[in-house]
């Protein structure tokens, strides 16, 4: 979807602000949001592509004002409701209760097995590489054009990189295809490529700059020279 998350090439967000305090979490709830989301992902309540798409579907004003971990809580809540794991009205009531009573305690529960499981998740991650029988359609140096698609669902082809001519920089393995995987349509693995798009092609400016972006095979059209 052409959501607010797809900010590549936008103007108006001001200068990059650095030199702030570099703590990982500014508030304790951010710390909990980080742990919760990883716990949900690590137990397979939903996958990473669904998680990203949940963020993309936030109201744009909320997206811009809730901060990074606000996004995490938003998608976590949305997906748990959509999967039927928690009830939306119960969640809303509970949210209001915590807003009214900020010292209200969160119940505790221990589960050493889950701790162990999460340690493995963090240690080994989850590869998205899959073996497929097909051969890659493009080789290094191939000229390609990116498709101009505008799906209402999840995609990892950002708006700024659509309908552009580029060159294959690297042929990677076949990876799980997010456009399918975010929508319960299976993994549909496809070859992934690093594609070089010049600043001239992207922005109409001359300059010694290029973007290298990772694109799945079905985002690419062969170009006959």
């Amino acid at each position: 979807m052409n959501g607010i998350h797809d900010v590549g090439g936008m103007d108006g967000f001001g200068k990059v602000v650095t030199g702030e305090d570099e703590v990982l979490f500014h508030e304790d709830w951010e710390r909990r949001a980080f742990g919760l989301l990883n716990g949900a992902l690590g137990q397979g309540f939903f996958n990473l592509d669904e998680m990203r798409h949940g963020i993309e579907r936030m109201n744009p004003a909320d997206y811009l004002t809730s901060g990074y971990y606000g996004h995490w809580t938003a998608t976590l809540a949305k997906l748990l409701v959509e999967k039927g794991m928690i009830d939306e009205s119960e969640l809303d009531r509970r949210t209001q209760a915590y807003q009214k009573e900020s010292n209200k305690e969160i119940p505790r529960r221990e589960n050493p097995e889950l701790v162990e499981h999460m340690k493995q998740v963090v240690k080994f991650g989850a590869s998205t590489v899959r073996e497929i029988s097909a051969q890659p359609k493009f080789g290094i140096g191939s000229r390609v054009k990116t498709i101009n698609h505008n799906p209402s669902g999840h995609t990892r082809l950002p708006r700024y990189a659509r309908g552009k001519y580029g060159i294959i920089n690297a042929v990677y393995d076949a990876h799980v295809f997010p456009d399918a995987h975010a929508h319960g349509k299976g993994e549909s693995p496809e070859y992934l490529y690093s594609v070089r798009l010049t600043a001239d092609e992207l922005w109409g400016v001359n300059g010694q700059e290029a973007v290298y972006i990772d694109l799945w095979e079905s985002y690419l059209i062969p170009v006959n020279e």
């Binding site: 809730s66 590489v129 990892r156 922005w203």
Partner: protein
Amino acid sequence: MSENHNHDHHHHGHHHPSPESYWSARTKAVESLLIEKGLISSDAIESVVQFYEKDLGPMHGKKVVAKAWSDPDFKQKLLADSETVLKDLGYFGMQGEHVRVVENTEDVHNVVCCTLCSCYPWALLGLPPAWYKEPAYRSRIVKEPRSVLEEFGLVLPDKVEIRVWDSSAEIRYLVIPERPAGTEGMTEEELAELVTRDSMIGVVKVQPPARANV
């Protein structure tokens, strides 16, 4: 549209929500419901957090860079097949399953971003800094990288090609910065100390060592 209630947004320069914000309460609400339903445990949440806050330790990325600077054979293998080399060293894990290492030279400067979310090589660099996740960096670095790098204090000659790696898939990128002058004869451990996180994202260069002996 469940977020779209009448809640207050306090937005500051960096959109850090204030203590008892809607999002804080919402997070607590989700946690309490998941705990009650037995779908998560408090200690599991805490152990994940602790791993990134405390256990991950010094950035593995620094050691990789120092080794690449010290050992040309290693560097060559690392650039040719980053993933295998890093796995052999034990540097992998969540958000580091698939890594490609790229090298800065006199002629080419690499810088990493994720315009669509904030993908970042956790396993090598830990969790990303705040600016990496904000729209200002994500929106501008692909369109005006030279200006953005200048704001980080890095002024590159026009002839230097800037390559911006937009992490749109599950490949994570790590930059080997240029080895600074005056580091001849330094050990890998000493070199690793010079390497900064930002230099491995590609927004700054590694500075030469302070010349305490001069």
